[in-house]
């Protein structure tokens, strides 16, 4: 039986800006069990990346974080920079949207892989090199031996992301955070990279957090989904339950706004009117209320808390959730 690997408790991230305090993450609670996959979905500015940076303790210097980030029995917010450095790359790894964020342009692929492996594992150069070749092969890079001598700029975007994944996987992490890992890639390459992540996640029994703006990405590839809006988690459920019955109007609207492949051309899309609230001017009531077609009464005055629905695993923050009487989605 797998236990809780990561638990984010009441995380709050604030950034000072000339316009006032920007509350990027607003009292978020999350857990990820060992070996499981959590999808965090939201639009730009919803706080999903700041949340992942809070977990990794990689927030901008000026940011203030409160709350706890319990990972593998330790509170990461209290760890010394030295201990954090040992942990990141070893048991906590990350893949960013742009692989060049994590790859050094002036070092060869081989140097970067071997360095990471030797930093964290007691392997000599020959062993580290052998492991690097195995990793590159595992992430689907042809001619891995030759690639060790190449620089990142000699590879395509998709190949670079494979290398970044190989670096992230090199020390068998317990948790991999993938922040929009395929957003910069083409659709056929996106499918390959998502398959690769899923395969390695199963093979290595690691836990994974996939951060994305695309409900399509989380649907087939996660165990649980958390939907974020304006810094808060507004709905969280096991993936099949969420897609079967969305309770929070924002989640439903987000799905409805996606163009459907099976819809006829020129079908008007049910767009969400307006835009997200200014994060430096928090609303008193529900952040989605100004755009929500179900909003009424206390939606504008009280903040709904994330609470249980009919099933223990399905949480939502809404005073007027979508009724469950209908048999699933329309």
């Amino acid at each position: 039986m797998s236990g809780v690997l990561l638990s984010v408790e009441d995380a709050l991230v604030e950034l000072p800006t000339p316009r006032g305090n920007l509350r990027a993450v607003d009292h978020v609670d999350l857990t990820v069990d060992a070996g499981r996959t959590l999808g965090i979905v939201g639009e730009s500015g919803c706080g999903k990346t700041m949340l992942s940076r809070a977990i990794l303790q990689l927030l901008p210097k000026k940011a203030r974080l409160s709350g706890r980030v319990m990972f593998d029995g330790q509170d990461l917010t209290r760890l010394s920079p030295e201990k954090l450095r040992k942990l990141r790359g070893r048991s906590l790894a990350v893949v960013f949207q742009d692989p060049m964020t994590s790859l050094n342009p002036v070092l060869t692929i081989g140097t970067q892989l071997i360095e990471t492996i030797q930093e964290h594992l007691a392997l000599d150069l020959a062993e580290a090199r052998k492991r690097s070749v195995e990793l590159l092969a595992a992430v689907g890079i042809p001619a891995p031996e030759q690639r060790l001598a190449q620089y990142p700029h000699q590879l395509s975007g998709g190949m670079r992301q494979r290398v970044a994944i190989a670096v992230a996987l090199s020390c068998e992490p317990k948790l991999l955070i993938a922040d929009e890992p395929t957003t910069a890639l083409d659709v056929t390459i996106q499918a390959q990279i998502l398959d690769l992540l899923a395969r390695e996640q199963r093979r290595r029994h690691m836990a994974m957090i996939i951060i994305t703006h695309d409900l399509g990405v989380v649907a087939g590839r996660t165990d649980e989904v958390a939907v974020m809006y304006a810094g808060r988690v507004v709905e969280r459920a096991p993936t099949p339950a969420l897609f079967k019955q969305m309770r929070m109007p924002y989640t439903e609207a987000l799905l409805a706004a996606l163009p459907k492949l099976d819809a006829a051309p020129h079908t008007p899309l049910p767009a969400i009117s307006g835009r997200p609230p200014d994060p430096t001017r928090p609303l008193k009531g529900c952040s989605f209320a100004p755009r929500c077609r179900y909003a009424a009464g206390r939606c504008n005055t009280d903040k709904p808390v994330l609470s249980r629905a009919e099933t223990a695993e399905h949480l939502y923050a809404c005073f007027h959730p979508i009724e469950t009487t209908a048999s699933g989605r329309a």
């Binding site: 395509s156 492949l261 051309p265």
Partner: protein, 321 residues
């Protein structure tokens, strides 16, 4: 050539566009022919580097073609220069991907939208103000509130509305939309797609809609052309093309789209590799290096676009249907 129409608004004939990079030739567009009917939206899809944006720019003569013709309403744009081309450009407009970068940050919204009128020689300031006012209202912005403000005061979605207003202020007939929604969030994307559809009806536009996202393309297009490494693979009516793709690359693109339904488990994608470099495209069919159906003929013989079903053309020696 593609559809038997006597009078297409745009006819691109065997267009070739090449770039020189470090002494090497990039074969961006290699002999593309297509037609866009009056009042229709032709979607152009393909992955990055396939030449779709270059094609869009070559249509507008923002990039001159090496060879081939671009006939707009019967006039060959590739043969036009100077004043004649400038006059013709009032009838064809472009909307870019990055709405914020395509607006001058130091100019006010009202002036940005009025600029095409100034260039076109509309001298009367009152007329210019009126037309800017009308087009801003049409794209869903309040002219009295926005005209005096600067681009940074607006979100990406609103900036795209401004770009659309600027493209429409001269009442063009034809608009090339180059990835107009790919920089926008899902909830904003739907608003802009709906707006483009509305504007198309209101202004009687013909659109060339370039995007990498098939679902987005299908939502707005009457017909879709699929492009790969500088060549067209397949052209057909949207629904037909999605229901029965004939080219293996079209099928791969459709299969790769992540579907927001957990019951539709993603099929472990076939290892199909990556597109080769347009500097040294494969001989014969350019898709053959990633194609499960490729054989020796595909390496030696370039497949020509030929009709397969009503309105559907495919460039493949071994089509799926």
């Amino acid at each position: 050539m593609l559809l038997p129409s006597p009078d297409p608004l745009l006819k691109v004939d065997n267009l070739v566009v090449e770039y020189s990079v470090g002494g090497k030739t990039v074969h961006a567009v290699s002999g593309v022919s297509l037609e866009v009917e009056r009042g229709e939206t032709l979607g152009l899809v393909g992955e990055s580097g396939c030449g779709k944006s270059t094609l869009g720019r070559a249509v507008l003569q923002l990039r001159r073609a090496e060879s081939g013709k671009v006939l707009f309403d019967g006039h060959d744009l590739t043969a036009m220069q100077g004043e004649a081309l400038r006059r013709m450009r009032q009838r064809v407009q472009l909307i870019f991907q990055d709405p914020i970068a395509s607006l001058n940050p130091r100019r006010r919204i009202g002036d940005i939208v009025a600029e095409p009128l100034v260039i076109a020689g509309v001298k009367d300031p009152a007329e210019r103000r009126q037309r800017v006012h009308d087009v801003l209202s049409a794209v869903g912005l309040d002219p009295t509130l926005v005209a005096g403000r600067l681009p940074h005061e607006f979100s990406g979605g609103q900036c795209q509305r401004v770009c659309i207003a600027r493209a429409l202020v001269l009442n063009p007939e034809f608009v090339v939309c180059d990835e107009p929604v790919s920089a926008l969030d899902v909830s904003i994307r739907a608003q802009i797609l709906n707006l483009l559809e509305e504007m198309k009806t209101r202004y009687g536009l013909t659109l060339l809609f370039i995007a990498h996202d098939l679902a987005v393309v299908k939502a707005v297009s009457d017909r879709v052309a699929v492009m790969y490494l500088g060549r067209l693979c397949e052209v057909g009516p949207s629904e037909q093309l999605f229901a029965r793709p004939a080219h293996p690359y079209t099928a791969l693109l459709i299969e790769a789209i992540p579907v927001p339904d957990p019951d539709m488990k993603p099929t472990e994608s076939v290892p199909t590799g990556e597109p080769p470099s347009p500097i040294a495209p494969p001989s014969g069919c350019r898709f053959r290096t990633r194609c499960p159906r490729a054989d020796t003929r595909c390496a030696s013989e370039v497949p020509e676009l030929h009709p397969l079903a009503p309105g559907q053309l495919v460039a493949c020696h071994h089509p799926l249907i």
